[in-house]
Amino acid sequence: MKLSLLGLAALAVLPLSAAAQKSTAEGIAEYRAMLADGNPAELYEAKGEALWKQARGPKNASLEKCDLGKGPGVVKGAFVELPRFFADTQRVQDLESRLLSCMEQLQGFDAAEIAKTNFGVGEQKTIESLVAYISGESRGMSFNLPQAHAKEKLMYEVGKKVFYLRGGPYDFSCASCHGEDNKRVRLQDLPNLTKQPSASLGFGAWPAYRVSSGDLWSMQRRLNDCYRQQRFPFPGYASDATIALGVYMGVNSKGGASTAPALKR
């Protein structure tokens, strides 16, 4: 009797699996809300602000003259307009590649050397704190990437191509996971990065503190991990391909709010 009752209970549960899925997503949202109160990204923001103002490197200079697109030293609002075209380097640059330029020009660091360094080590650690501080200064502001320059338009088209490029042993592309609504991997909802409002929910949450690794991840590190999951070769740090993806996702996020540096599981 007990057994048949259990069977009935199991049958009754089956049609509800869709509802159970929903509550899983809610459960994760609740977990994030609990953690958000003490988001360790704040520690990186404080560290990043100090590093921005501190005289460092072979030239013993601070980054306070670094132009992030809104003029030398202007941090507030710069993040939601990146990646953008910079006349001095004649390149479209995202936050990390721009920081590399500034660290080379102003402080005398070797940008190529930093780009080769592993994540979470040496000057890469410095960049992680800097991106937390710089993105935090634009928290709540809306994405508004410039698309006036021909190179910015070109990078958007390149980013779109890269986003839909299928390859690797899994024959995967970014779009395999992030090109449709209502997809998920295990228990994580996957944002559709091709349109609003989901694009800014995904793109606008990075840099973020990743609880599972206890580190602050920049967008560059996030993209690197996306490619690892697709079993692609790792993209070069601050390479044009990764910047183009940033332009594509950033332009798609237009009007959406940046929540970075956010908190991830």
């Binding site: 003490g38 360790p40 704040e42 520690l43 404080a46």
Partner: protein, 103 residues
């Protein structure tokens, strides 16, 4: 050298709620590095908080506490403008104290 804690304290009626974000590696001593060698344990052993010099919270921690831990506690009394100080000592003997004012 350790990084500063982020301390927020808020008084509401009788109760004061204190939220502290601590910057610490909290190495469990169970992880191995790339070379296969055990990363030595490094964690906060004692943490305490004082309100105007009087201890209102003290705890002993071990290796099971996460990296960059978050602590929240509340106590009776305390009003806006009072001083809260939080201190920790880790197993290497490093220590740190940070202060905040109740809002």
């Amino acid at each position: 050298m350790s990084d500063p804690m982020r301390i927020r304290a808020q008084a509401q009626g009788e109760k004061t709620t204190v939220r502290v974000l601590v910057s610490h590696e909290m190495e469990s001593g169970q992880r191995k590095d790339a070379a296969g060698k055990i990363v030595p344990a490094w964690f906060i052993q004692n943490i305490s908080a004082t309100h105007n010099g009087k201890t209102v919270m003290s705890a002993q921690w071990g290796t099971a506490v996460s990296k960059n831990p978050f602590v929240q506690f509340s106590f009776k009394g305390g009003k806006a403008g009072d001083k809260i100080a939080v201190s920790w000592v880790d197993n290497r003997g490093d220590k740190r104290t940070d202060e905040a004012v109740i809002a």
